[in-house]
């Protein structure tokens, strides 16, 4: 190190002396441009011995939409005994072999030691000794407006490529990077950003404020927006990377209410189940006042701190909580991955009753091969206790089961033929299928006349919300009885066609049979659903809920073709309202939110094999199932047009699916 410092001093002196010479000898006017140009070249020459060329063999030819380059990339020596830091981007193709060439022409095979997935750096090791380690600029000397020279070694071995700019900003991308207007591209990713004295400011990497991942930010190449990870941060993480373990961004598992980075609403909107935040004891409704010891008054301040932290690191969160006069502090340990929560599944349908006088939950149906079936549970048993806790009603039982995981053991106390019985069960996963037959529950029936007497509207009718001219239609089974809870099917029509008569015709008998009310809101302009019409659909559902006896566990959306996009949007926006989405002839466009045991959501997809969405949908189904959403997928194999509406067998299956949305 002293050896390098002395070298730099000499160079410094050299530059100074030349400037003096320039002033005194040749020119009445100092030629600043020439002096600067000279300094660019000398800075380059100074750091040159520490910039290596990296070549890769094999690997993928494309990553996502990006065609990976085949050319050499750059890296910077960071230890005398062969550690080299480079941009993770240079290894996205997962090459099978990496070769490093030093500026003097010596070649070495290299191995990846570890990758930092937060700062997008990869540490390499080669078997060389006495390598020249460059000098770093002290953190506080770097200022916006300083010269910044970006170097790479992809074109020629004997001369680094040079691009000159200034430092445009510090602490960019949530505190991670120096921003520069020098041209940054695959030509110099992994190379150094140096100051006018040739001292290292940082390592060039592609970054993006929104996206994460190895290719994020590449679209900004040569745009005047380039990034470098500051050297003082790089030096801090090298010992950690050198242990051979990858570093990952740390995740906390909270969502704040209020939208946008500038929002000052610091109340926790959601605390993800099973996340570090939830395990530490944080709850939705808490208001964050301090994070990691720093006062936080704005969403962006939380992000600034969080986005710099690695998985495995701890932080403290101080919140105010209703009912507590003093702020509460919780210690959280961040994790690499927030595992999607998977609720346990007992395998029963509860008896639907509006009578809450009787203790426990009656069993209406036991799914075959389920945990309940294996434990010997039978229809008409009453579940009195679950894990030694009294079961008041089916909602309470569902909540207890949903908050456990598959393969968790549980104990049931049941009542069978007036005798109490203890059963042990091991919970399972909710199956991605529909029972092939499901007896309907006996419905109390009334005559239309009686309903008319009580001014309960039944049958097919059109309606409007009070004070609103947007229309919707309703079908209430003729034998509707207010003494029974009904399911609610919300039909979201595809753009351009309300399909009212088709839907009514196809679903009428199933609705009667399964006890479901059908409602079809119409888009303001039938041509398309506007996203702000979600409010209207919600109001329609609320209004039906107040006028009829609706089981809130069985409110679901159905749609066809490109109406599905709006249906999913509704389901993800109002998770407390909808329990299922069944769509035909369509795929899913919105990214679903993570699963939450408090808001179970099920999906049903049915698609003709010759529908062009087929290829798109299959991986989406996989992804949904990976996120632990119970997802049924049925393929139709016939010669009919792909966009035809469903036929009987699938309508009936959706009926059974809807009739089991209150499963536990």
């Amino acid at each position: 190190m002293p050896h390098i410092i002395s070298k730099s001093l000499i160079l410094f002196a050299l530059i100074c002396s030349m400037q003096v010479q320039g002033l005194s000898a040749q020119n009445p006017k100092p030629d600043l441009e020439a002096l600067e140009e000279r300094a660019f070249k000398q800075a380059t020459a100074f750091v040159n011995p520490s910039i290596v060329r990296i070549e890769t063999v094999g690997g993928q030819d494309r990553v996502g939409k990006l065609i990976t380059g085949t050319g050499p990339t750059s890296g910077v020596i960071v230890s005398r005994d062969g550690l080299i830091i480079s941009s993770a981007f240079n290894f996205i193709g997962k090459p099978s072999s990496i070769l490093v060439t030093l500026p003097d022409g010596r070649r070495f095979p290299a191995q990846i030691v570890a990758t930092d997935h937060l700062k997008m750096l990869t540490l390499l090791k080669i078997g060389a000794q006495n390598l020249p380690v460059p000098l770093a600029v002290p953190e506080k000397e770097i200022q916006v407006g300083m010269w910044a020279i970006a170097l790479g070694r992809t074109f020629d071995l004997d001369q680094p490529s040079i691009s000159v700019g200034i430092v445009s900003a510090l602490g960019r991308i949530w505190g991670k990077a120096i921003q520069t207007d020098a041209k940054i591209s695959p030509i110099n990713y992994g190379g150094p950003l140096v100051d006018i004295n040739g001292r290292l400011m940082g390592i060039l990497v592609p970054l993006s404020p929104g996206a994460t991942g190895e290719t994020a930010g590449v679209e900004w190449y040569d745009s005047g927006i380039g990034f470098a990870i500051p050297m003082y941060d790089v030096l801090k993480i090298i010992p950690r990377l050198n242990t051979g373990k990858d570093l990952h961004p740390g995740k906390l598992g909270i969502t704040l209410s209020g939208k946008g980075d500038l929002s000052t609403d610091m109340k926790l909107d959601r605390v993800r189940y099973g996340s570090p935040a939830q395990e530490a004891g944080l709850k939705a409704g808490d208001t964050v006042i301090k994070f990691d010891g720093q006062t936080t008054k704005m969403h962006s301040q939380i992000k600034q701190i969080l986005m710099r932290k690695y998985a495995g690191e701890s932080a403290s969160l101080t919140v105010t909580r209703e009912g507590f006069s003093e702020p509460q502090t919780f210690q959280v340990t961040l994790v690499e991955k927030l595992v999607p929560f998977e609720s346990g599944f007992l395998g029963i349908l509860p008896q639907r009753t509006m009578n809450s006088q009787v203790a426990g939950v009656g069993v209406r149906y036991v799914f075959s091969k389920s945990a309940a079936a294996k434990a010997g549970l039978k229809s008409n048993d009453r579940i009195l206790e679950f894990n030694q806790q009294k079961v008041a009603n089916s909602e309470a039982l569902a909540s207890m089961v949903n908050h456990l995981r598959p393969s968790d053991p549980a104990e049931l106390l049941i009542l069978r033929d007036q005798k109490q019985l203890k059963l042990k069960v091991t919970l399972q996963s909710t199956p991605h299928s529909v029972a092939s037959s499901l007896p309907t529950q006996a419905l109390p029936s009334r005559t239309a006349a009686k309903n008319e007497q009580q001014k309960i509207k039944v049958g097919h009718f059109k309606d409007q919300l009070p004070g609103d001219d947007q229309k919707f239609w309703v079908y209430v089974p003729e034998n509707y009885s207010p003494n029974h809870q009904y399911g609610l099917m919300v039909w979201i029509h595809p753009p351009g066609n309300t399909m009212e008569s088709t839907i009514l015709k196809e679903w009428k008998s199933i609705c009667e049979q399964r006890g479901i009310i059908l409602v079809g809101p119409s888009a303001q302009d039938v041509i398309r659903w506007n996203r702000d019409e979600t409010e209207f659909v919600k109001e329609v559902v609320e209004s039906i809920k107040t006028r009829y006896a609706i089981d809130s566990k069985r409110i679901f959306l159905i749609s066809h073709a490109n109406g599905s996009e709006f249906a999913f949007h509704l389901a993800f926006k109002y998770r407390e309202l909808f329990r299922g989405v069944a769509v035909s002839a369509s795929s899913i466009r919105d990214q679903p939110p993570e699963t939450d045991p408090d808001f179970p959501l099920s999906f049903y997809f049915v698609l003709n094999a010759n529908n062009p969405f087929n290829k798109l949908l299959q991986p989406q189904i996989e992804a949904l199932r990976k996120m632990n959403y119970p997802t049924v997928f049925q393929m139709i194999k016939n010669e009919k047009p792909a966009s035809d509406y469903l036929e009987k067998p699938h309508l009936e299956e959706i009926g059974r699916w809807a009739d089991s949305l209150d499963r536990i």
């Binding site: 040079i162 041209k183 030509i187």
Partner: protein
């Protein structure tokens, strides 16, 4: 390798000379250079205007009589070629000659009077190295209208290097050195423009829009004036011999040798980039005697990086009987190099 040493010597020389020489004149500055250059740049309007073909480009005057050097492009493929000078004067022009191999064309303004226009001395073959400040002049995006002069950009030379281009739509036939610059010079209509050092030396002509094959990114480059100079002179003086007829670049790579001719059996080439791992070595073969083993990864053939089985095939295919073959393989974590004599061709 030889070329490399020459190149590095050149770069060193550049560094030294640039460090030692005094500026050309006392007034050397970007501003003086811009004043000097703008009257020497012209806007060219011709054929095109559909889809990705722009109907305009840039050129620079290389004689007082109105000879203009520009890019050889479909813009010139018209009977109604017009040129607008920096001051708004408009001329008809004709194509005098072209060197498609260098993407160079010379056009001449039609005029009944003798023209005395300012021009660049193309025979002063300036050369510059990485880090040199440059100014780029072009009619990019046709943003300069009427009597407005062309646009000026600034930057530095990133490298003077041979440009690997992506095969396909943007392929150029020119294979020599170019200046890659860090200013975004290569825009629609910019081709045919000029880059100058900040102190006024003409360095090169801005090229077409192409992608760098090795990184798959757009590249900003210019054709060096020291390469163009001779052809410009020949076309102007009418002593032009197109290099096109002299030598056709080899389009197909020869396949004189296969890996098996040396005793190499490679792993099946199933991927887009199957790494060149040796599957087995034929007993008694050249490579067996040299000590190669199964699972060795071939990484270099005569200093060319072997990225895949395909590159190995093409590199071996190029060899000729009696050549020295230098192989570098990676075995575990070591590089092992060996040299063989290429055997006579097996017909």
């Amino acid at each position: 390798m030889k070329e490399n040493t020459v190149k590095s010597a050149f770069v060193c020389l550049c560094l030294i000379t640039s460090a030692l020489t005094v500026p050309v004149s006392a007034q050397a500055s970007s501003q003086a250079t811009i004043q000097h250059a703008l009257p020497r740049l012209v806007k060219i309007f011709g054929a095109g205007g559909v889809k990705n073909l722009y109907g305009y480009s840039t050129g620079f005057l290389v004689s007082p009589q109105g000879h203009i050097a520009t890019i050889w492009s479909p813009v010139l493929d018209t009977d109604r070629l017009s040129v607008v000078l920096h001051d708004g004067r408009r001329f008809e022009a004709e194509v005098l000659g072209a060197e498609p191999h260098l993407d160079l064309a010379i056009i001449k303004l039609k005029s009944e009077h003798e023209l005395k226009l300012p021009y660049f001395d193309y025979q002063n073959k300036a050369i510059a190295g990485a880090g040199t400040r440059i100014l780029g002049f072009s009619n990019m995006f046709r943003v300069a209208t009427g009597d407005e002069p062309v646009s000026v950009l600034h930057g530095v030379i990133e490298a003077r290097t041979e440009l690997p281009r992506r095969r396909g739509a943007f392929e150029l036939s020119y294979t020599g050195d170019v200046y890659v610059v860090d200013a975004i010079t290569n825009n629609p209509g910019a081709a045919g423009g000029a880059i100058l050092t900040y102190d006024g030396k003409l360095l090169g002509m801005i090229g077409k829009q192409v992608r760098n094959a090795k990184t798959n990114t757009w590249v900003n480059y210019s054709l060096p004036i020291d390469v163009l100079s001779k052809s410009i002179e020949q076309i102007i003086t009418g002593k032009y011999e197109s290099s096109e007829n002299q030598k056709k670049p080899e389009t197909e790579t020869p396949e004189r040798y296969r890996p098996v001719d040396f005793g190499l059996v490679m792993v099946p080439d199933v991927l887009y980039r199957t790494p060149a791992f040796i599957d087995s070595v034929l007993p008694g073969s050249l490579v067996a005697k040299a000590g190669l083993r199964p699972d060795d990864l071939v990484v270099f053939v005569n200093d060319e990086l072997i990225k895949s089985c395909k590159t190995l095939k093409s590199e071996l295919g190029k060899l000729e009987s009696g050549d020295q073959l230098r192989l570098v393989v990676r075995r575990d974590n070591q590089l092992i190099s060996l040299e063989l004599q290429v055997p006579p061709e097996n017909k």
